[in-house]
């Protein structure tokens, strides 16, 4: 029986899909709200954002062991962030669908509700005490920041259908990208400082290279260039989306090592003396 942390096997790509869809859908709704205020025809974009969020929740439905009891998810709003996420999704769909008839103010309301939904998703991860990479408090801003950057990326991918990419959208996208870069860097620094399973840090180190190239520098360069060459806006968006989704997929399916087991002291056996503690598979202090 292994005492070292190992990749959790309870949440797979289906659970990751919820975080991918929820984050990108929320970000896209926010950009759609800004686009609506700017007078752009964003109805299809709102529908796409709602479909992403619904798709993510659908993936979760596929993962649960008793799918026909899904309404039981609403039973614990007092302490469960999963229940709160389920409640938060309701006004997102209500306002989002109403926005198709009532216009930009309702899109803005849907985007606000979606931000609450995305916050709940971040808190879901943070409350998972068994997974050191998730319970790190910076996971909440990371979920928010990367979701908004992914949504901005999707919006830029849709700009060919709206005419040229608006300058405000490029600027907002660049701000979101820088925000994601800052939060991602802070998240990793805090995880390293606090101590974490060695495998978690190794996976994140390998991922960081891909995220830096695909999810940060390429989209940033393309977004800056898109001020002059509009065709590069969708490229910037696609890179940002791919980088963000890869990051979150990794966080759920590859960097989610369990706590493992630790001893504060090794026992005195027979005539021997007690010894120091141990925390196999961890960086930093022992126990």
């Amino acid at each position: 029986m292994r005492a070292v942390p190992r990749q959790q096997g309870n949440w797979d790509w289906r659970a990751a899909g919820n975080f991918l869809g929820g984050g990108a859908g929320t970000g896209l709704l926010l950009f759609a709200a800004l686009g609506g205020i700017a007078g752009l025809p964003v109805g299809p974009i709102v529908l796409l954002a709602l479909a992403l969020i619904a798709g993510g929740l659908g993936f979760v439905w596929l993962e649960i062991g008793r799918p026909w009891r899904f309404l039981n998810v609403y039973f614990n709003p007092r302490t469960s962030w999963m229940t709160r996420e389920a409640y938060a999704a309701l006004p997102v769909f209500a306002a989002g669908l109403a926005a198709l008839w009532l216009g930009p103010p309702m899109i803005a309301l849907a985007a606000l509700c979606a931000l609450v939904f995305l916050y709940c998703q971040g808190r879901i991860l943070r409350a998972a005490k068994g997974i050191p990479a998730w319970r790190e408090p910076m996971i909440v801003p990371l979920a928010l920041a990367t979701g908004l950057a992914e949504g901005g990326g999707l919006f830029l991918m849709a700009t060919p259908f709206l005419g040229a990419a608006p300058r405000w959208a490029l600027l907002a996208f660049i701000v979101m990208m820088l925000l994601r870069l800052g939060v991602w860097t802070a998240y990793r620094s805090r995880l390293i400082a606090a101590g974490a399973p060695q495998e978690t840090l190794a996976v994140l180190a390998r991922t960081a290279r891909a995220v830096a190239i695909l999810g940060v520098w390429l989209p940033l360069l393309a977004a800056v260039a898109a001020f002059e060459v509009a065709l590069l806006a969708p490229v910037a968006g696609a890179c940002a989306l791919a980088g963000g989704w890869w990051l979150k997929f990794t966080l759920v399916t590859r960097a989610a090592q369990t706590q493992g087991f630790a001893l504060a002291h090794t026992p005195a056996r027979g005539a021997g003396a007690a010894g120091p503690g141990a925390r196999p598979g961890w960086t930093g202090r022992t126990a």
Binding site: R66, A128, Q259
Partner: protein, 215 residues
């Protein structure tokens, strides 16, 4: 009040896994599911190597993270500290499994049997369809405790009111009892020995103590 806890004397445990087998027998858990496990830990590097056998499982925490995250309220805590799962409420989301720092929870998606797809006679009799697709874990043999207490027996002292793993332990390494009773076996063991709880820094208040040396 009553607070049931388990105490494992790491000096005595020999890693025989009798508790593991007793648990499987008592609770009819399928292959791959071990509510009671004993870790075989090697610590240090040659020539300074130590070995410890460490019983683990649900710690029946005072502040259980599994209960906090459970969206369906299937996971609950009794007044005596035992953390339970209502299999009829659980949706099988496994959020509790990722919230538990002790890897104590299991979810089995399809029936599993020891020898292929068909159950043995014993497995056929004891298979519980209600446990498929939901979260399961150690219950501290709560049915035995409740039944024993109803008969006026004392959990931890009378075998009929004591978890199967504790009853089976060949080295008297595992103990069970009421922490709130200063005269109980577990209270006395904790008073007479140095002890720790695993991952105490996470604030879960585990109800599982490890003895490692004399006080």
């Amino acid at each position: 009040m009553t607070r049931y806890v388990m105490v494992a004397d790491l000096r005595r445990c020999v890693g025989c896994q009798t508790c593991t087998a007793a648990c499987k027998h008592a609770n009819a858990t399928p292959p791959g599911v071990q509510w009671r496990r004993v870790l075989d830990m090697e610590i240090g590097e040659y020539p300074d190597v130590r070995r410890a056998f460490v019983p683990v499982g649900c710690m029946h925490c005072a502040d259980p993270p599994c209960m906090e995250v459970c969206p369906s309220t299937a996971t609950r805590q009794r007044d005596d500290g035992i953390v339970t799962i209502d299999y009829d409420l659980c949706i099988g989301c496994a959020y509790c499994a990722v919230a538990c720092p002790y890897q104590a929870r299991y979810k089995v998606e399809t029936p599993r049997f020891a020898y292929g797809e068909a159950p043995t006679e014993s497995e056929a009799q004891r298979h519980e369809a209600g446990r498929i697709g939901v979260s399961t874990k150690c219950t501290f043999c709560v049915d035995r405790i409740d039944s024993g207490v109803e008969q006026g027996l004392t959990p931890g002292e009378d075998p009929e009111a004591t978890p199967a793993c504790v009853n089976s332990c060949i080295a008297k390494a595992l103990h069970f009892g009421d922490l709130d009773d200063p005269d109980s076996n577990v209270s006395q063991l904790l008073a007479e020995n140095q002890h720790f709880r695993m991952h105490e820094e996470l604030g879960t208040g585990p109800g599982f103590y490890y003895l490692w040396d004399r006080a």
